[in-house]
Each structure stands twice: as structure tokens, then as C-alpha cells.
């Protein structure tokens, strides 16, 4: 990623905010597209159920911010794939549905970052953020504010570092 800082642990990008809770996988990538396995093609339909122009708004390295239970519903890995192919590098939400969370991490597509509900409220659409996943700190450059994020559990952090489960070696 070209917007990664020199230590490789901090990423910077612009926020696309959806205030909704329970943004489900049928909204993120509707059922008819599940037969498609061309990742670039999937990106064109990302978030189609809520914002059909989503893929045109996103630049490489941007972030998505949402409420509770992001990614609930199906196990379709198409969901994190479609979002990551638009350029989204991290999703910041109050909570994630379990399969979406592990797909995002195990597939090495994007970072699912858990933040407090109060932090979700403080972040606005269009804000520029810098996320340090070692210090677990989020800097809101636009608003000159600092937030904390929930640290990744140890195994998750190691899988993230390996770039996904397929490249992860438990003995490393």
C-alpha cells in the first residue's frame, strides 16, 4: 500500500461513514453476484444495497466507519473482497458479525477494527484518519483528536502480519 508509513504498521486514509447498525452481507454484495469470482468485478457492486455509487467514491487506502454488527448474515467472502477491491483498507465499527470478521482477517483483505460507540459518533464522513495497529491508536487528522481501538487478539495480530491464514505458519 502506497499510503503505509515506513514502519508498515500505520495506515492513513479518508472516512466513508454509514451510521447504520447491522449492515448485512446482502447489502454489501447482493445474492445475484455470488456466482461472480472476478474480484475486480465484485468491487463494482460493493455496498450496492445501500449506496450504488460507493465504488466510485472510494480511493485506495480509504476507511469505512459503521455501527454495530457490521457484516451480519451470510458467510460470503465476496463481502470483504468487494470492499477491499474498491480500495477500503480498514473498517472501523462498534462490532462485527463473526464470519465477516474472520473472513476479513483470514483472507488478508482488510482490517476489521473495533472501536467504542462514542468513537463512532465522533468520526465524520470525509475525516482523514491515521491508524496505528501496534499502538492501537487512531489519530483524526481533520479534527485533531485521538481515539483508542480494541487491540487485535494475539492470533489475529499474527494472521494479519502474515497477510492471511494461508500464509500463516503456527510455528513462526
Amino acid at each position: 500500500m502506497n499510503n503505509t508509513s515506513s514502519n508498515g504498521r500505520s495506515i492513513r486514509g479518508r472516512v466513508h461513514k454509514y451510521n447504520n447498525d447491522n449492515i448485512d452481507t446482502d447489502v454489501i454484495i447482493p445474492g445475484p453476484y455470488l456466482k461472480i469470482h472476478d474480484h475486480k468485478e465484485l468491487a463494482k457492486h460493493a455496498m450496492e444495497g445501500i449506496d450504488p455509487s460507493f465504488h466510485q467514491k472510494v480511493s485506495e487506502g480509504d476507511f469505512l466507519v459503521a455501527g454495530n454488527n457490521f457484516g451480519c448474515g451470510s458467510s460470503r467472502e465476496h463481502a470483504p473482497i468487494a470492499l477491499s477491491q474498491t480500495g477500503i483498507k480498514a473498517i472501523l465499527a462498534q462490532s462485527f458479525a463473526r464470519i465477516f470478521y474472520r473472513n476479513a482477517v483470514d483472507g488478508g483483505y482488510l482490517l476489521p477494527i473495533e472501536i467504542d460507540g462514542s468513537t463512532v459518533k465522533k468520526i465524520s464522513d470525509g475525516d482523514e484518519l491515521e491508524i496505528d495497529i501496534v499502538k492501537n491508536q487512531i489519530t483524526n487528522i481533520t479534527k485533531d483528536e485521538y481515539y483508542t481501538m480494541k487491540p487485535f487478539p494475539e492470533l489475529i495480530a499474527r494472521i494479519v502480519e502474515a497477510g492471511g491464514l494461508i500464509n500463516y505458519n503456527p510455528k513462526d
Binding site: 447491522n22 448485512d24 446482502d26 447489502v27 447482493p30 445474492g31 445475484p32 455470488l34 456466482k35 461472480i36 469470482h37 444495497g49 445501500i50 454495530n68 454488527n69 451480519c72 448474515g73 451470510s74 458467510s75 460470503r76 467472502e77 465476496h78 462490532s95 458479525a97 463473526r98 464470519i99 474472520r102 473472513n103 483470514d106 483472507g107 487478539p153 494475539e154 492470533l155 492471511g164 491464514l165 494461508i166 503456527p170
Partner: protein, 425 residues
Amino acid sequence: MTITEKILARASGKQRLSPGDVTFARVDKVMLHDVSGPGVIKVFSEWEKKRGIKLNQIWDPDRVWVAEDHFVPSADRISAENITALSNFTRQYGINKHFKYGLGQYGICHTLSHEEALVLPGEVYVGGDSHTNTTGALGAFAAGLGHTDIAYVLMKGEIWFKVPETILFKIEGFKPAHIMAKDIILKIIGDIGTDGANYKAMQFSGSVMKDLPMEERLTLTNMTTEAGAKNGIIEPDEITFAYLGERTDAKYTPVHGDPDAQYSEVFTYEVDKLEPTVAKPFSPGNISAARELQETELNKAYIGSCTGAKLEDLRAAAEILKGKKVKIRTEVLPAAQSIYMSALKEGLINIFMQAGALVGPPTCGACCGAHMGVLGKDEVCISTTNRNFPGRMGHVESKTYLASPIVVAASAVTGKITDPRDVRN
């Protein structure tokens, strides 16, 4: 330990596991289908490309089975090519349990898991589909995963899990004839919310379970997914053993929770007082009593899917539809070929067709808005399926109400949402 903790401990080679522990567990059975399968194939080919070597074999082809269910009968050219790719994959890796449509038994993956006794009590079973939870009704740990995790299991035979806390649901009282398992699980999701069991296990017990047929139990575990649960589970008992005994000679070691097992929460439901329940658009947790919605005009009734087209579901719907005519488009799609044949033998198919309903082949098609019965803009459907998110069954401005097979059948007769007590002879 709970049954979930004990199964995961055994599969991890550990004496004890507690909620929150992260463990790599050996997998007993794994399933993929025509949506997750092509993803697995892609992960395999990227693995090969990156390493410059061929992946000549998988961990254990005999523990793998493959379903064709989402875009079948092939919805279009791309779907057909996915099915071809899946056939090449199973041939290449020697996977013999590939249930192909038009070649004997086939059907929805979760239905095959119990119809064919592909998963047994005490096992760890993972599938590339979120409703894999269904099969936990057989007393197994059953959880849905994405295709990268399934690819990993195919290579290594194990996968990581965070051991879930267990919420225990005691289902008590006398179940009236107008109440089905679907009403119970919709009520539970309405109470705890669609993330009420996120990362957790949902276990069902209580006096009602003692008489609840296996297929009704499967409805409970199926929709634990809609509460966010990692797995749904029911301790195996005489009903489980009898159900499996009719389907397999395979040996297994049932697992039961300890008497002092710790549950994070315990909820008790008295079914005597339960009303036929409907989940309104656009969430499985947005529930009302059917009678409160009786002015709701419908365009279509759908009886299908892993949730609501098992033989017991078809029997219940046929009992309502017998000798009546449907007033709105009604589609009945048995969840597996074997169920279709049983329904034919029992005269249920005749009842549906006499009533004017369409009867179709097993497929997930309309349930996920993919093909064969998709909803148009402003269409309103009542369905025995499991999800009603915006656009789930078609156009983003269509509406789906979720209900039991008897509520759906009663509503098909009147054209409005109807409590089955109001149409029974």
C-alpha cells in the same frame, strides 16, 4: 464443560477449554458448495502460483462433501461454468461425495447434512455457508466459515476457533398445534436481537425438546445464525439416535455437557403462550404476532430453503392447503430430492398442485434473490426462509415476511398474513 466446549476440547487434544480460549481444532467433516467452492478453487490456484508447485492432494477427501444448491439448476452461463469447475475440482482431488443435481440425490447443503447423515454427534463440522449451524441439531459442533478458511481446512484438516460462551434456551410447556419451531426461534431472535448471540453458542433444551422431531430441531439451530451465533447445538438423545439409525450404520461417540457446565445466560420460554410469529422487513429480529399483521396484503408465498422445506415443513403446509386453493402465487421447493420423493409418496405434492401452487426442484435460488422466483420492486412475499434483509429475495424495494410453514400456507390461502388458527377446517 458444555457440549460445545467438550467437543472442541476433544478435537484440540486438550483436557479442558474455557470460553475465550483460542484453539486449533481438528475437523471431522467439511462442506463446500457452488458459491464457496469456486472461492476455494481460487485460493488453491493462488497458493500454487505463489509457490510454483502443484497442490496434488488434500488432507482427507473422504471427510469432504460437496453440494450444488445456490445457482442450480444452472441459472445462467456463469453458474454452469462454476458447476463445471466444481466437478473438475472434486474429480482432481478424489472427493466422491459430490451431490450433483440431476444425478440422484441432491439438494440444499444443510438438508443433505442430516438427510444423508453426513455429520454425526460429537463431530466438528465446518461448511462454507453461514447456515452450517443447522447441523448442530445432531449434537455436533457445526459452524459456518468463508472460503479461505475452508481452503485451509482442506489443506491442513484443522482450523482456529475462539471457544464460545454458551447461552442455554430452555423450551418448556405444551406446544400447541399452531406453533412450530420457527415461531420459537423467531421469538428468541426478536428478544435477544440479531447480534444477541454474536460469537456465542446457542444451546436448546427443555421439556418440549423431548418430543420435538429432528427436522423441527433443525429449524431452531438453522436460525441461530440470524442471532449471530457461532453455532447452535442440541444434546443428542433418543430422537437423534433414531433419526440417524434410519440413515446410517456409522459408529459415533455422542458427547454430553457436564452437569456443572457453565452457561453465560439461561432463558426459559413457555411455548403454551406463544403466538404464531412473523418477522417483518427488514430484519429477522423485527417480530410481531401474525394476527397483528392480518391486514398485510401479499403477492407471493414461498415454501422453500434449508429452514422451511424439510419433510415436516411440507407436511405441515399440506395439512393447511389440503382441499383449498391459493389466492396468491405460491411456490413450493422441497429442500432435497429425497424429501421431494417422500412428499410425492405421501401425496403432499398432489395437495400443493391441486391447491394451485407451483412445485419446483430443490435450490437456494429465490431465498438468496439469485434466480427462480426473484421478487420485483414493491412485491411482498411471505416465506419459510431465514432472512429478510433489504434486497435479500430480489429488488431492494421488495419486502419479505418470515414465518412458519403453516403461517405461510394459511397466508397463501387468504392472500394476507394469516394465523393458521383462522383458516383451519
